[in-house]
Symmetry: D3
Subunit: 319 residues, 6 copies
């Protein structure tokens, strides 16, 4: 049996292979029989699955761990669903390609972190360099695998680095077009703007987010990012305008009050940060929807974009 990727599964497909467990729960059906309702995924997507007639003594599949499964894909209420016929946790001799089992950034974390560290080293403002380095140190090892979101954009292993480094590239290009801006300030803003997400989301090391943290719910990453920045300022002894400029950039990067920024960007570097953030987030969301849509067709309505998407043929001959 050929092993499909999840995004290739169709009604009546049969599947056998490794998949990542992304949440599993025991439930009872209408006739009082236990079953397990779980989500399974690989790098390319996710599918709901059921294990019927569950023996309650058995341990549940563990979230964030790969399993070996065999099953049949069905359609229920218009959505695909896998009926699991057999499954087991990993044996020591199993060696699934983990890179295939979770969506992940296209570059390695080491690569991306190096690019960021390089950028910081190039800062001529000592204050910005110190603050940014301290913030990166405070972020620690979790930064290497943390996603940028639960669902919206860059919801993947190392998605936060992916988002940050793509934004860095856009920001450096913007410096070519608007050379009158302060380069260090803009780049520092890019690097720091979403670090508060490390305190906002509960993610496992595969980049799978189960929920928001208490901090995330009650304060959000904008405000929590400012607290972290204040701590970094205290540790590095940096004071004055530099700190407040960065505080403002963290606070205003969502742009409008109704999008959660109580202040709009009030100097050019904050404004540029906002648009670069918007553009990179949206392009990532677009790409995900566009890749799933066949050429010449429209997607269903994408809720995060509130519209349907068209995937063009892009050829001169296309009708």
């Amino acid at each position: 049996m050929e092993t499909y990727r999840v995004c290739q599964l169709m009604k009546d497909s049969r599947f056998e292979g490794f998949l990542m467990v992304r949440g599993a729960e025991k439930k009872t059906d209408k006739n009082g029989r236990d079953y397990v309702d779980l989500n399974l995924g690989d790098r390319t997507g996710e599918i709901n699955a059921k294990i019927w007639n569950w023996d309650s003594l058995q341990g549940l599949p563990e979230s964030g761990k790969p399993v070996l499964v065999r099953g049949q894909v069905q359609e229920y209420n218009g959505r695909l669903q896998m009926k699991i016929e057999r499954w087991r946790p990993l044996n020591p001799e199993d060696s699934p390609d983990l890179a295939e089992l979770v969506p992940a950034a296209p570059r390695t974390p080491e690569d991306m972190l190096a690019e960021i560290r390089e950028t910081v080293k190039s800062f001529s403002s000592e204050n910005l360099r110190k603050l940014t380095e301290e913030m990166l140190n405070m972020a620690g090892e979790r930064l290497s695998w943390f996603p940028a979101a639960q669902r919206m954009h860059h919801a993947e292993r190392s998605g936060l680095l992916h988002h940050t480094t793509d934004m860095l590239r856009l920001a450096k290009a913007a410096m070519e077009v608007y050379p009158w801006m302060n380069r260090d300030l803009l780049l520092a803003g890019v690097i720091l703007h979403d670090l508060g997400k490390l305190e906002e989301l509960k993610s496992d090391e595969s980049g799978n987010v189960s929920d928001y943290t208490r901090d995330g719910q009650l304060l959000g990453h904008l405000v929590r990012g400012i607290t972290l920045l204040n701590r970094a300022a205290e540790r590095t002894g940096v004071t004055g305008e530099t700190v407040i400029l960065l505080e403002h950039m963290l606070l205003s990067h969502h742009g409008e009050t109704e999008d959660g920024s109580p202040r709009p960007p009030m100097f050019p570097e904050a404004e540029a940060l906002h648009w670069i953030d918007m553009m990179d987030a949206r392009m990532n969301t677009m790409k995900t929807a566009w890749e799933k849509t066949p050429e010449g067709a429209f997607s269903e309505r994408i809720s995060s974009l509130d519209r349907r998407i068209y995937h063009p043929w892009y050829t001169d001959g296309a009708e």
Copy 2:
């Protein structure tokens, strides 16, 4: 007497030199005496002026032409105003530096047009190349001096080319970050997206916009741009998907229904065009406000941004 630029004028400044007339009207004061109410400007700004005790037989200063004036700057209701003591139109021997008298793009039109033409030549899609070239040809010579707006952003001589070429640079950078997009389509969209403005605004050759045209009022540059594109398609014989993709990019580049785009961007190149357009327009508006604000100070509320702007010191030592 040292010759100030307009942006340097203050209460009690005296001024003597060439200024551009940007509208002039005869009025009557409370005591029944005629006077002339006019706006004078140079590359750096604009000031209201009065010529009191006007002799009605005299010809009015002509809008869009330079004059030589001498006057005194006063403050009236909190705004600067120049009381003209003497003035005359240009003599044949006058040779004011015209580049100093109107705000203008930082590069020459020839330069910018060459960059655009170069870009079009590089398209591998023949359809996109033909359509874009035809549209540029239809735009004709006016493109070289046309502004991008009456007031909001790039309201300057050759502002439309300025806006377009800065966007081209951003778009090319975006292609580095998102190489899966169709380069020709994105770049063609950038070049064409605002050409409808040539039919929307009434501008003189100094880039000074007096009003909207009837087409501009009743249809706007998005829809008029589509009509022009249809004409170009007919002339070049291009049909099929290429045309409709560009139509959609013209229509959706304002992004949201409430911002005047009846359709949101529905494929990645249209989405990218929207953000690049937003970013470039806003950065230009920001720059104008930021340049006028002293370091360490806040501007008044900028109506096009609906906020006040801060001009940072940008130094490590700044409090």
Copy 3:
């Protein structure tokens, strides 16, 4: 067995007779058995139906064709559903009354088209007459059966003509009350305002809309209508104000930017067109909801109106 109309079906009704297939899809139930999920309708309404235990070798009921069915009406999750016991496609000897099987305009297309053609002949403006006639010719035979919408209002065979002719009557009445308007311009606007829908919707000849077209999605009928008008202007050689007035009427007939018109109506005939369009669309929606609601009762919430509807007793004695 008495033959019910679809709007009369209740839980436990039995039905035998001809119905129109409005979409059919093969699905698999939870136990892996194939079934067919389809919608069946007549002039008065639509009901979901299931054919359980489907033999996969059999051909699916064809959308847009009548079938003869026998079944039992059940309730599932609060909605009626017909369990099909037997069905077959039409035999040559079957002669169902097609007028009973699809919702349709109350007048014949010939009648309505004649009224429109008559109106156009009466125009004293040659330009308006030429443009309107050309547009009607371009619309061609599809105009006779095209619906006005997929769901909202006049979603019926010949609904576009129904909507147009009812609006014509309102417009002629408005000319009595506001005789200072230009009659030909208003009536031409009414006739042309929705012709772009022919390029926006995918409809079969029974007036059943399966989806939006690519043009419909990417541009909408307002903008596509303008393109068609431009083509008609080119063919008839009409230029000048007349064309742009009609372009504006097409563009502004939804009234507000947030309802999809990038320009609001800017002269009286455009304003009148907008209100007549709104009123006729809403009265049709109201009528549909009101007819389904018993006297003295409230409907469920009608999503297109965002409210519940009351059907009054309308008698002096009613409590």
Copy 4:
């Protein structure tokens, strides 16, 4: 000296003739001298005027009364202003044509009232006839000259009757197109919908509104209209559905919650009333703006419409 109408006055016009005083107030100029600031008008418009060097012992021109004035039209801050040189109140021998001095409905109140009374007589529902007649009787003689608004639409002598009778004509036409509606209910709704304005506005007999009443401010004509209707119901002994249907029509005729109707129209006659009201109000506003705009030109922004208006040439030859 030819006597101009107010709408014809231009800078430097001289004027001598009768005008209506629409408010007059004594003020002091910067040099401590008294003057009178007043508004003068005729059927066609209104102009601000000043009487300089006012002798304080003199009586002020009385609002709502005609005066004979001579003066010179000047421009101040871009607006026309009449400098009064001589003026006096009316002598017994003066006989100005009062119909020329105030804006008024095009038909006589007697005519319009007769049409309304006729309509009511034709009702087959005795309840609706009784309620409507009682409400008209309660309205009394003020109905004959009451305006429909202070500024927005039908702000003229007998404007309320003008608005009501134009709506009646539209409603009767709507009954032709939608004959399934209840005619008496719709027509009664039209006649009653704005009678609450008699308690909402302070108007003099020339239709000039000085302010809102306390009831108008605190409750508005929708709610006050319901109170009046309840009183009419009590007096006529009518109860039951008829009363509540009319209450709902009064309450919902503004259509949307944010436009001041706490309930949207919930049956067809209420829905029709709303659109007919909207259309007639807007067409009247449009007409006023359109009449003031020269052919081929755009108006300034009309605040009640939130847009500029175009007055077309309406001829085939127009460019």
Copy 5:
């Protein structure tokens, strides 16, 4: 078997005891078998239940009456559901504690009514006292058990009195802080503001609301309250400012146009009434959500609040 309260039930709980029927309906399952779908509740909450394999000859459980049931709690589509194994209506010898079976105000109606009557007696304004007493008399006995809403807040037996008396306490406290307000007017406003709900909602004596009345749908409790007040004014002979102040308070107590008040509060007592009403309604909604959420945890999204709720530990040691 220990008897749980409804809010304590979990998957796999078994239950035996008295519950209140809150709606019951016969339905047919996919296999054509009848079953009963019903909601059962006690003072603490509500649970959906099913009686499978229903014998159609049997009478349905009666809504608003207690039954004795035995069943098993299951989970279906993520929500709890009770599978009823046995049930019967009450026997004469059954004596369930009715106070345990419906959610109810914490104080007795007698107590709360006495507090209100006491308050009214203390009014020094005779007009306000007369009007308020008449309104309370008109409300009659239903006031003692009427709820304040179907779902949002104080949806419980005597909820209207509960809401009113809590607001009275807040209003009396507000009088301490803002002693310049008119005490009698504010307190009368509190007592009267929601009495229109008696005509807006259909409630049984247990405070369970099945639907809105026709008056409730077509007019709402704000406007219907004004009609009632007018009747009380007529009966008591009270006229003048007092009546219109109360009318305005009834009309404006929702605060904003878009929340259903066509007028915002326009004097201090009306403003205070609005905030006290908002605060009490929201605190009650908050309490309900907060009680259901374990300490240290977040609730699901509460639709009436449009947010998730956190239940703090409230202790110094809590992490």
Copy 6:
């Protein structure tokens, strides 16, 4: 000459007495003569004034200091204006009653601070007590005179304490009605919620605010308050839930995202804080407008409330 208060001044009033200077600026009139444009005020209000024919060698009246003036009140463009005839700064022997010259809270700062300190002492939570005391200590002496706003509400000397103590009284009353809330948490939230304003506004000791600070513009008092709280937590060693609950209360006290709170209140004490804050702010604004409006009359539109205000007679006899 009787000495008026500023709120009593009318056209043609003469005035002689002490007034507070609230901003003064030298300007030039149309004829090139210098004059001084200044604002003068007392406890009851503010009036614009002019000193014509200014001798430039003289020192300007100093903002925030009292002066002795004599002048005449005139009306200019519909607003009152005082023409200053004589003025001088204070002599040592002058002893104006300073309490009469600036608007101020009705109680002394000592009194209000004592009430707050007392409240804090009563906290049973040591964490809340420590944090609140530290924050009060950090606020320091400026708290005793700081206003709560530049214009909206409690714009007066000690207005911040006034607002806080009135809210404390409401909060304590709320604890009686909703005793299930955590008293210490609610009261701490009240005391701390606006302390960030000390860093947001530039105020002199008379409570007169000249502008926002850089922190105020770029971050606002909500976010700056959180930074201050973090510092207090660090100093007192308090960690855990207590800190985050207070952070959330500071952040959410404006209630809605569009009102500047990126998070809505998510537990009952935060919700109560929001409503108490709203109510107290609005009642103060209402009082100010209501006091200025004569009985039986309406105010002009109050911009901070977006409505006109009515001042009732409040008597049974009032029509």
